[in-house]
Amino acid sequence: MKKHLFGKLGIAILVSVGVGFVAVNLLKSKPPEVAGDLPRAEKIDQNKSEVVSKFSGLEMGEAYLVKAGCLACHETNVMRVGPSYASIAEFYSDADPETLENLAQKILDGGAGQWGVVPMISNPQLDVETARDMVRWILQQEEQE
């Protein structure tokens, strides 16, 4: 195995927008988009009601992540197949809105990049608003002692 292939490749070019920037609020201001064959609102409502009924103990963003199968590769502190949520949050702590929007799109499209050559699986079953909820939650995670 050629170890050097799997290090951080630093593909994403990040533009810092200064200290004190709160990614979460900016993400929320993005305009809604139509996804799939259902009206967006209806699709989100369906997703929400199912997630609420199945994962009542979890926050919405986290519940989405579990439902979509993300836990199979990611958890908050430990590296599984992919990076931990805390390390993602740390990496993107200074990222600008466009980069963060790209992260939501990355969840939908999958692909390799910042964390090695193994691509993340695509998630065409999600809508972009759900992906944004996921990004919001991920970016709030911190490394626990």
């Binding site: 195995m1 050629k2 292939l5 799997f6 490749l9 593909i11 369906q46 199912e50 009924s53 199945k54 579990v66 199968g69 836990l71 199979a72 590769c73 958890e75 430990v78 599984r80 197949v81 992919g82 999958g110 692909g111 390799a112 050559v117 193994v118 691509p119 993340m120 699986i121 695509s122 065409p124 079953q125």
Partner: protein, 610 residues
């Protein structure tokens, strides 16, 4: 209704008696109009046989199935059994399909049906098309890979839960190639192979975790409660680390990377449909997960086990009405395998809590038995016994041995358990042990009782079929297949021949249980079809293969030793078992990709019209 009548209908000469008959049947005074038409070859003008014509009436269909498919006869004509009022189909969508053909007229694929006077006639023109990438079944993508044990093994494991390759798998393959290109390693064979291996290996690990998606709402077998180490533990997962290596190697070296073009794939057997064949699909709610359906004597309903929502479905195939019946348990149960009997009950093996249940529709009565066996107290697959299958007979009805025991396969523990529902007594015995395999990775699967009730024949996915002797309580007549062959849900006919579907190898095996010897092994028309279960059809003397990966049902005639194909009007049409409706001979089944929502969720009936 004869073909001639259909053709007459086309020319708007309505046979009066025909109309009266239908009016009487549907109890309406609205004049009868047919929905009919012809599919022709755009070049020669000749009729094209075996084109499926699918009418999607939407989920608000007035009555019956919301999606109905018929086929063109030898002359290219089709006709729907819908001579009620036009409002039941005008405005809905009509779509045609035939493997190897492309629609050229009307130009835009699906047609919205518009009204006109008299019969509604919708004609189509098609032309042969070499590239079938857009309407090929998943299995077709594997057709050019040489047949090896490794290929069988990958089919066995991957298709065990979902079609393979799914659209998402194809996307992933593209993402790997993109990553290789981004790395600038496209021309570096060794580096490219490393990336592919590492990536597919990640997917194998991912799938060990995604398996948990099969468990029901409120499950205690819960990924969120497990450490990563537990998820990947050889003792608790269906495929161990050696299996994982074999799979990622195969995927990295053998899987196609171009999914835009596919040529040369054929059904390899004649179509078993005619202008009288009708396939009805009943769409179920997205949140339900009815993996399996069954019928029970004396009931006109199709009964389904909803694994996700811990309930049973009762579907009336005539009206399309759906009713749901919750399992009366404080704990999630995950109804999974469902079998009827001769007195109108349903017997259901549960994925969770090691439960077997009996449901009696008359009076809405439940009885639950718990078969706890060496529970390890971990929220992991493989910690529970998991009652997987229960013994049935040649008619796919529940079977009890001479002492009254139902035989159950405990997939988590590789054990056969006997349950006497009269006394509640439960006993269990090890099935054949496989060296180097943990119980869960042996995957003790289907079982049935021989006609003399002495043998509970069972299948272990690792590659073994054996008889558990219900009198001596010992394993005998062990039949070994190559690892990856994957014997799954068996059937037995009235002449005591055992029919073994090899899910991984894509073969059908005939075994003589009296002489205890293998009679023949037949390659399926498509060896990547993944035959999940076989059903013996006593009226037709046909073995039906419920395929998971070919979007088709295979019928095998033991006399002529030949196959016929019933194409399904659906991509991702993952089948698990077929029941033959004893009242009308219809085939009854359901789509069952894991997890919930990853494929179509529908009950299907096939009226062969033979």
């Amino acid at each position: 209704m004869s073909i001639v009548n259909r053709m007459f209908g086309l020319f708007k000469i309505v046979v009066t008696s025909h109309v009266l008959l239908f009016c009487a049947l549907v109890g309406t005074s609205v004049s009868a109009n047919e929905l009919t038409g012809r599919v022709t070859n755009a070049r020669s003008g000749e009729g094209v046989f075996g084109v499926s014509v699918t009418l999607n009436r939407g989920q608000n269909a007035l009555a019956g199935a919301d999606i109905i498919t018929v086929f063109t006869g030898g002359d290219g004509y089709y006709s729907f059994p819908l001579p009620t009022n036009k409002s039941s189909y005008v405005g809905n969508v009509l779509q045609i399909e035939k493997l190897g053909y492309q629609q050229v007229s009307p130009k835009n694929g699906p047609m919205t049906i518009s009204d006109n006077e008299g019969d509604v006639v919708v004609d189509f023109k098609v032309k042969p098309e070499e590239n079938i990438a857009n309407n090929a079944p998943a299995s077709a993508w594997l057709s050019k890979i040489p047949e090896t044990d490794a290929k069988s093994f990958v089919r066995l494991q991957c298709t065990g839960c979902h079609q393979f390759p799914t659209p998402r798998v194809k996307t992933y393959s593209g993402l790997i190639e993109k990553s290789i290109a981004h790395l600038g390693a496209t021309d570096d064979k060794e580096a490219s192979l490393d990336v592919r291996k590492e990536s597919w290996s990640a997917i194998v690990k991912y799938m060990r975790a995604r398996m948990y998606d099969i468990f029901p709402d409120g499950t205690n077998i819960d990924l969120t409660k497990l450490t990563w180490h537990q998820v990947q533990d050889n003792n608790l997962t269906l495929f161990n680390s050696d299996d994982g290596e074999l799979m990622s190697d195969f995927l990295a070296t053998q899987m196609p990377t171009d999914f835009d073009t596919l040529t040369g794939y054929k059904y390899n057997a004649p179509l078993g449909v005619s202008a009288k064949t009708v396939i009805r699909e009943y769409t179920l709610p997205d949140v339900s997960f009815v993996r399996e359906v069954a019928m029970t004597t004396g009931s006109p309903y199709i009964w389904g086990a909803d694994l996700q929502k811990n309930r049973l479905l009762r579907l009336d195939p005539k009206t399309g009405e759906k009713k749901w019946f919750n399992v009366p348990s404080d704990m999630p149960t995950g109804p999974h395998t469902i079998v009827g009997d001769y007195t109108g009950n349903l017997w259901i093996a549960m994925m969770e809590g090691d439960v077997l249940a009996k449901y009696t529709p008359k009076g809405d009565k439940w009885k639950l038995w718990t078969v706890r066996e060496g529970y390890e107290g971990v929220a992991a697959i493989g910690a529970e016994a998991m009652v997987h299958d229960l013994s049935f007979d040649k008619n796919y009805k529940l079977a009890r041995d001479k002492k009254g025991y139902i035989w159950l396969t405990l997939i988590g523990k590789n054990k056969m358990a006997g349950l006497n529902p009269d006394t509640g007594e439960i006993k269990s015995y090890p099935a054949q042990q496989i060296e180097g395999r943990t119980p869960i990775s042996v995957s003790l699967y289907g079982t049935l009782l021989s006609n003399d009730k002495k043998c509970a024949w069972y299948a272990q996915l690792v590659g073994v079929v054996g008889c558990f002797n219900t009198e001596t309580l010992e394993n005998e007549s062990i039949i070994e297949f190559p690892e990856g062959a994957g014997p799954r849900r068996l059937a037995i006919d009235e002449s005591d021949f055992l029919w073994i579907p090899l899910f991984g190898a894509g073969q059908l095996v005939k075994y003589d249980t009296k002489a205890r010897k293998l009679v023949a092994t037949y390659d399926l028309p498509d060896r990547s079809a993944a035959p999940y279960a076989v059903t013996w059809d006593p009226k037709r003397n046909i073995i039906w293969c419920a395929n998971s990966n070919a979007d088709a049902i295979y019928g095998f005639d033991p006399v002529t030793e030949s196959f016929q194909i019933i194409p399904l009007p659906r991509r991702m049409g993952y089948l698990r078992r077929i029941e033959v409706d004893e009242t009308n001979g219809n085939l009854v089944t359901t789509y069952a990709n894991i997890p919930t929502g990853s494929g179509p969720s529908k009950v299907i009936t096939v009226e062969l019209g033979d």
